[in-house]
Amino acid sequence: MSNSNKIFIAYLSQLLIVITFGLYLLIVNDWQFQTNLLSLLPKSESQTADKQINALFGQASLLQAQDALFGDNDKKIIIALSLKEQPLQQPTLKKPSSQNTSIQQVENEGLYAAHQALVNEVGYLASVEIAQKHSPTINEIASFYAPYKDNFISESYRNNLNQPQALQSLMLAQLTQVANPFVSATLEISPRLALADYLQNAVKVLAEGEESHGMIKFSYQNKAYYLTSLILTMDSFSVKNSQILAANLQTIFKKVADDFSVDLIYSGVLFHTAESSKQAEHEISTFGFLSLIAIVLLVLFVFRSMSPLLISMLVLLLATFYGFVGVLLFFNELHLLTLVFAVTLIGIVIDYCFHGFVSIESSPTLGSIIKPLLLGFFTTALGYSALMFSPLPLLSQVAVFILFGLCGALSFVLVVLPMLNAKQKINAIQVHSSVKSMVNILIDKQTQLTRFRGKVFLVSALLLLLSLFVKTPHFNDDIRLLNSSPQWLIEQEKRIAQVTGYQNNQRIILRAKTSQALLEKQELVIKHLKANQAQLTIKSIADLLPSLKQQKASHQQIEQAQINNKFDLGLNLMGLTDPVTAFNGLDYPTFLQGPLSQLTELYFKPVWLNKNHKIFVSWLAITESSLESSGLNKKNLDWIAQQPQVDIYNRVKDFSSTLSQYRQSILNLLMIAFLLVAVILFALYRFKQGVLGLMAIVFSALGALIISHWLLGYLNIFNLLAVLLILALAIDYVIFYQEQGTKVSTVLAVTLSAFSSALVFGMLAFSITPAVQSFGITVMLGIVFIFILAPLCINKR
């Protein structure tokens, strides 16, 4: 058996294994498409939780705390109903008040009816339900706190404990209110009204809007909004389901708004997922389709035969399949953005095909291009292999997809193509004579330019330096670059955040080993923050469940005041007594059994880091009522930064910060990659040729980055990712020119490759997703530059 047959059989065997295994992974194995942008960010800390037995409060537990406290928010949908705005051109008539209220009443009835219709329609959908909020009655709350009545005193009550007159005033103020259900419910339990005062303040702080006809009413900018919450009962990030459910809900929302003439806005991760995935699918299909059309036309034009086209399609299909198999082998999910970037595989794979097609006429076994193809592949593999180990899942997936895909493509081109040609299984692949003529013209131009290559490189270097001096590039690492949600959805999200007061809301996450330690930590943090910023409103479970230590202290203060007869003036007014009971602390487990347990689940919960270790986590919601300021001041922020297990929660900032770190990592990676390229080039082609090749590659990359910066206004991690791809392509071009000079076959193959890659990446420049757009622009520019510069580094000898 000849060597070529043995190689062919070996190839077929591995192909069979890949196909079988790949089908198994695709069909039998449990995997999914992932569209959650945040899943692109690293989870490495949570994977090392088991190793952090002595570090319960490492980064892992913070991520788990965030997930425990806020993870369910991604399954929520908020709908806000409001009356339609009156048209501005209508004069506002001053109607009699009874008519005004009648109109108001009719309009409100419309809102209530709209809500009822919404509830009915949503009830027919399987994957979503109305969020049920159990609001305990005031009597239930009062009865629950009764055994602990002397453990709870508000700040204002505490400040007046030594002043009988002030205490009497406090009691009178409570008693003379027109309607105070807390006084009515607790007067018999605690006549000194400390409990009524405490509960009133606590509930007031935690109250979010007012319940009205099954909705929660908020007022914002003189307009009333009635909010309803829905909960998803399925995984909100399954692409197909999220699109279907989002579409169904949007149909219902529109119908309700139209039927009852109300304004209806909504927010929820579901809709962002649906819109982003639709956009990504549209881009994949559009860009992929257009890229394919462009390449088909190019191939037909050059070869005037269907064979190269069909073989190219087959190679692309195989490469894509290899890429899928590679990703599913190492990951159990495939992110949608991976597919968007993986469109670039088309451009690179077609390179191998072109080199094979143009060389097969003169070298039927492709012996002349094996070395440059292999060198190019290994160089690319070296560059991408560093990405495979990146903690950023997107980069890892893209790298794996590309590497496996290139492997599949290369093996086909080197093994199968010569076999098919030799056995005349395909029509002879020949380049059309007109194309050869054009290439010869191009070669003449390149040869002319090569005479001035010293000046070309010098001018390029000066231009680059000048550009860097005039406008130093800066990086934008905002995670929102990955977002392609439409503006109307972002505006609705913002409006709902404004209405509910969450727009200017800061969150602090606290962690502790025990529930009591956490309650005490909460009290310490709240006390410190308010001491520096009195206008802060802080919502937390601390308002309803002080620590046992605090309860004991309050009880002792009440007891002492009782001994000193401080309450007599007030109690005598009512003719009542209120003996202080023995201390009985209300602890967390008991609180969980009470009527306010649903509230605790929102703000305070245990988290199991692993099967042996549990911590308690809670969060504080902080708003600042002063119009001049927004959020915590620097002094408070600095203090929080020094506190162990107290962290500001800012998802966008955290992820952007992480993105920034990875951008820096990629920058370092690029330095290493360029260094490796330099070593390879010097090793292969010696100093002078090595320098020329290196300059061509470096100048192309730098030029692409600088012009991208001019066009976009900033650079980001995806511009750097593009440089990695430019590097891979540039290496191929430089190596081919170094190995083969400006032969017709080489120039044609490189030209075809450059054209096809520029077409593919040029389309990505039109993506709505800023990340994809950045990538496309930089790669396209880089290819243009390397196409011009690569021929200049040939060995003139």
Partner: protein, 205 residues
């Protein structure tokens, strides 16, 4: 035995139902006509709060101002100062130290009080079932309505409210009955105004 045709029986039944409905409607319309709705007014009030556990009621008095377009101020002067201010859809409580704080969750009750004081039965009808009560005292010329809350969250606070109007059809008394058995009796002297005093209007800004 003379048998009426079924059709005629059905028609008679329908007629009776319609007649009853019209009676009820007329009754509600009549109820609303017992009270004159006022859009801008001020006045004085005296309040007695009866708690089951207390032998005597808690007495207080003060003044009130409202303008349907601007807001509502309910100010207790005796025995201790406090005020509830509803302006721009927000409710504020001012304590005896004159410290003002925003109250979340009290706007509904404040609106109920405003509508009650203003005699706006139409507005109250969205939250309450309105029933006309027979005259309580044979010598009194006051007419009263009983308001039963429709929603459970209001029913926690009021089991029902009694509104009484004087011979001029102005609200003269509001009695709030609580599920606990406590009640609040408010007697009012209402003065219709064209404009509220400037120092009051400023508070609504």
């Amino acid at each position: 035995m003379f048998k009426l045709p079924k059709v005629i029986l059905k028609l008679m039944l329908l007629g009776i139902l319609l007649f009853n409905c019209s009676l009820v409607m007329a009754e509600v319309d009549n109820s609303r006509s017992l009270f004159k709705t006022v859009s801008i007014a001020s006045g004085q009030f005296s309040q007695q709060k009866y708690f089951k556990i207390l032998a005597k009621p808690i007495l207080s008095s003060g003044e009130f101002y409202f303008d349907q377009q601007l807001g509502f101020l309910w100010q207790t002067n005796q025995p201790i100062y406090s005020a509830s201010l509803l302006a721009k859809g927000q409710l504020y409580l001012i304590d005896h130290h004159r410290q003002k704080q925003l109250i979340t969750g009290g706007v509904t009750i404040a609106n109920i009080l405003i509508n009650a004081v203003a005699g706006d039965i139409n507005a109250l009808a969205s939250d309450f079932t309105v029933i006309e009560e027979s005259q309580i005292q044979s010598n009194s010329k006051e007419r009263c309505l009983k308001l039963m809350p429709k929603e459970s969250n209001l029913a926690q606070i009021f089991s029902f409210i009694r509104l009484c109007a004087n011979t001029h059809k102005e609200i003269s008394q509001i009695i709030l009955f609580e599920p606990s058995g406590n009640r609040t009796e408010i007697t009012m002297q209402l003065n219709k105004e064209q404009y509220l005093p400037e120092d009051v209007r400023v508070q609504f800004q």
